[in-house]
């Protein structure tokens, strides 16, 4: 049959083939043409609509995602985080570095306006000439502890020690000569006590007055005032002179001052109550004279 088809094909011209096509096509269109059922049509159209809706939704979501710029946590809160970090850094430096704290305080003090001290230049200009410091004595400054009688315990202790090593008189006199006459009477007793302690007042002032000179000087003046109120000032540094001073007070019948001065002598020269003390008899006589009054 194939061979026959080949011969027919070879024998058929194009015009004959066109006529054959038209004839077959006419017959083909006369037959009933199958079509898909309505159910199939509905299913396919529904699938088309559903797929298109889902694809459009996906496209919208994709577009929204592509338009959104994802910010990280650090970028989103960069301002609060940077501020907190700065505060933490500064606080840590101030807490861990004491020098920074001191500088900060000093700068803060400088920035605060204070009343000028120019009005009281005398406080800083107290002309106290200081004798050379004894090298054998300790350089540390001990604040004098005042007892009820106004005499420092350190002075009393020194006096007890100094019975064998009396203070050179020349040093005391030279020290007194350097004090101005205006302040000589008031400062002398304290200066002598300070010198007996082994540290001069000037050294004490210079050692501690670098930051608070005004306060130090105020303390000294206050101590001096208290000494004036409680007991007569001790102008002498030896028991002999003290007894002579006491006898002068008794002779002048200034018994109140004499009694106070007597107590001062007892505290300053505790060995004077010792019968072996050279001034024992004279002091005892004056004491009996005062107690009899």
């Amino acid at each position: 049959m194939t061979d026959r088809h080949k011969t027919d094909k070879d024998a058929m011209s194009d015009e004959e083939f066109i006529a054959l096509q038209q004839e077959i096509s006419a017959l083909y269109k006369q037959q009933a043409l199958e079509r898909p059922s309505a159910a199939i049509d509905a299913a396919i159209l529904l699938q088309a609509k559903a797929t298109q809706a889902s694809s459009l939704k996906n496209n919208v979501n994709t577009a929204e995602k592509s338009n959104l710029v994802q910010l990280s946590f650090w970028k989103k809160h960069r301002l609060p985080i940077s501020s907190a970090a700065s505060v933490m850094l500064i606080a840590s430096v101030m807490l861990l570095n004491p020098e920074f704290k001191q500088h900060a305080v000093s700068e803060l003090d400088d920035s605060v306006p204070v009343m000028s001290d120019v009005a009281t230049p005398v406080q800083m200009a107290a002309p106290v000439q200081i004798a050379p410091v004894q090298t054998a004595e300790p350089a540390t400054v001990k604040a004098p502890v005042m007892d009820a009688t106004g005499v420092t315990s350190s002075v009393a202790a020194y006096m007890s020690e100094s019975k064998n090593t009396p203070m050179p008189q020349a040093r005391v006199q030279g020290f007194d000569a350097q004090i101005p006459q205006t302040n000589k009477a008031g400062v002398r007793g304290q200066m002598k006590m300070e010198s007996a302690e082994g540290v001069s007042v000037g050294e004490a002032l210079t050692s501690s007055s670098s930051t608070e000179p005004r306060l130090e000087r105020t303390d000294i003046e206050r101590n001096r005032t208290e000494l004036d109120r409680t007991a007569p000032r001790m102008h002498v540094d030896s028991a002999e002179k003290a007894v002579m001073q006491l006898s002068e007070l008794v002779e002048s019948e200034d018994y109140v001052q004499a009694e106070r001065y007597m107590i001062t002598i007892e505290q300053r020269f505790p060995n004077i109550v010792n019968p072996q003390h050279p001034q024992y008899d004279a002091f005892k006589k004056l004491k009996q004279q005062l107690t009899s009054q």
Binding site: H5, K9, F17, I24, S25, L33, R35, L45, K49, S55
Partner: protein, 219 residues
């Protein structure tokens, strides 16, 4: 053969009708597909209504099982719908559509059961058709319209008896008016082979119809 392409395009009424309708509406199949890609479902409905008949018959007349033909028909449109998002105009929509249908036909039918075996079933239908023709002829309705209808039924049985490759080429040509070149693109065969298949298909149908009609008139 040169005339075959030109004659096919000129003498094919469905294709000319389709082209006239496209020009009348001003929207080509490719543009309708692009519109559907942009979300216009009405464009798809229009496209579907235009191609549903020929595509349905493409499957039904090549397969003996109607259910299988309908399944493949729906699968074809499903692939079109799913591929709409990535659709690009690289060829005519008709060529693209029937290439999908051809591949489905190859995958689901020919790989399992060669369509040539369906010719045997065509013979069975031919026997039934002959019986019905004989019955109608026995009832005595010898007018021309009845003769054309009878020849059309003979034609249908003759088409079913064609070899699978000739049947596919014949259906694509007579249903859609596709040229030999377009059919060769769809079936992935050479142009000359496609032209030969078309010619053999027409001649075989003519001879088949003539032979069957002669047998009917003799009876």
């Amino acid at each position: 053969m040169k005339d075959l392409d030109s004659n096919n395009s000129d003498s094919n009424k469905p294709d000319s009708n389709k082209q006239s309708s496209d020009s009348a509406m001003g929207i080509s199949d490719e543009q309708l597909m692009l519109n559907y890609q942009q979300g216009d479902t009405a464009a798809f409905e229009q496209l579907y209504s235009k191609h549903k008949g020929p595509l349905y018959r493409y499957f039904v007349r090549q397969l003996s099982q109607k259910s299988l033909a309908e399944d493949l028909y729906q699968d074809t449109w499903g692939k079109v719908i799913n591929a709409a998002g990535n659709y690009q105009v690289t060829a005519k929509f008709t060529t693209w559509l029937y290439r999908i249908a051809h591949n489905l036909l190859i995958d689901h039918v020919r790989a399992v059961k060669p369509l040539d075996e369906a010719a045997d079933m065509g013979d069975e239908t031919m026997d039934n058709f002959d019986a019905s023709i004989n019955n109608e002829h026995a009832h005595g309705r010898p007018d021309e319209q009845l003769e054309d209808e009878q020849k059309a039924k003979l034609l249908k049985s003759c088409v079913a008896s064609l070899p699978a490759v000739q049947k596919e080429a014949f259906l694509l040509n007579i249903e859609l008016g596709l040229t030999a070149a377009a059919i060769s693109d769809i079936a992935d065969v050479t142009l000359e082979a496609t032209k030969s298949r078309i010619r053999y298909a027409y001649q075989s149908i003519k001879q088949c119809v003539a032979a069957k009609w002669q047998g009917v008139t003799h009876d």
